[in-house]
Symmetry: C2
Subunit: 141 residues, 2 copies
């Protein structure tokens, strides 16, 4: 398989609006998308620099005390910070098959609909030296 | 200030060669640069996807038991994983001045020479909601 590039870096935050303010006013990025993902219990925002290529995805849990909310659990145990690394692939189903054949531990055996309508799937950090890896196939492919 | 885009994501690893193998063979990225940074006590490798834009920087401490090696300490306390987020800026000295004026906690008050000959400076995670932020000004600017 080959990776088209980095799609985004997921960052877990306590408060999405304050985080958007920080990243736009102090880090100098531009807000390009905001979305609620009720399936995952999070609100997200995507920000990019001038090149518009790789994004920062800010993620706030809808319920900070929900023990089943993975982002809320992440913040409770580790604090705010970088949560996952997402790479773009051309054919996510094919990539998942190849990764499974290589013995990687897949959290999602098949693609599901993620933010921005894209197809996404997560690979367990145990298989990626501590990095929670997300595969993203753009919706228009 | 404004950010040109994401330059790279720094990932702390136990073994650089094994990590390069993982990222090339299983994640599908290409190795574009390898360098020893004796000042920081680390060996690094940069990998990109087809777009060649944002990179993954794999970092292995030269001495895993050195209490002054920040990457070794990071791995000992948190395990392998994402360590910092680096954004490209046009004029790093100007960006640092603006950030200081906005009350951000700068680890490096001025730019220093980092990997690939670029000018770099780190901003404390306390000022970036838990994210260790690196500013990068490309050497040829």
């Amino acid at each position: 398989m080959n990776t088209l590039g980095i799609d985004h870096v997921g960052v877990a935050v306590d408060n999405l609006e304050e985080a958007i303010k920080l990243y736009t006013e102090k880090v100098g990025m531009k807000l390009v998308h905001k979305e609620d993902l009720p399936d995952r219990g999070i609100r997200v925002a995507f920000l990019v620099g001038d090149d518009g290529v790789a994004a920062v995805e800010l993620m706030e849990p809808m319920n900070h005390d929900d023990p089943n909310n993975t982002v809320a659990k992440f913040i409770k145990s580790k604090g705010q910070g970088m949560h996952h690394l997402a790479v773009k692939v051309r054919d996510i189903s094919e990539s998942l098959k190849e990764m499974e054949a290589m013995g990687m531990n897949l959290i999602d055996k098949g693609p599901r609909r993620g933010a921005r309508g894209h197809l996404v799937a997560f690979v367990h950090p145990k298989s990626v030296m501590g990095v929670l890896l997300e595969l993203v196939q753009e919706a228009h492919h």
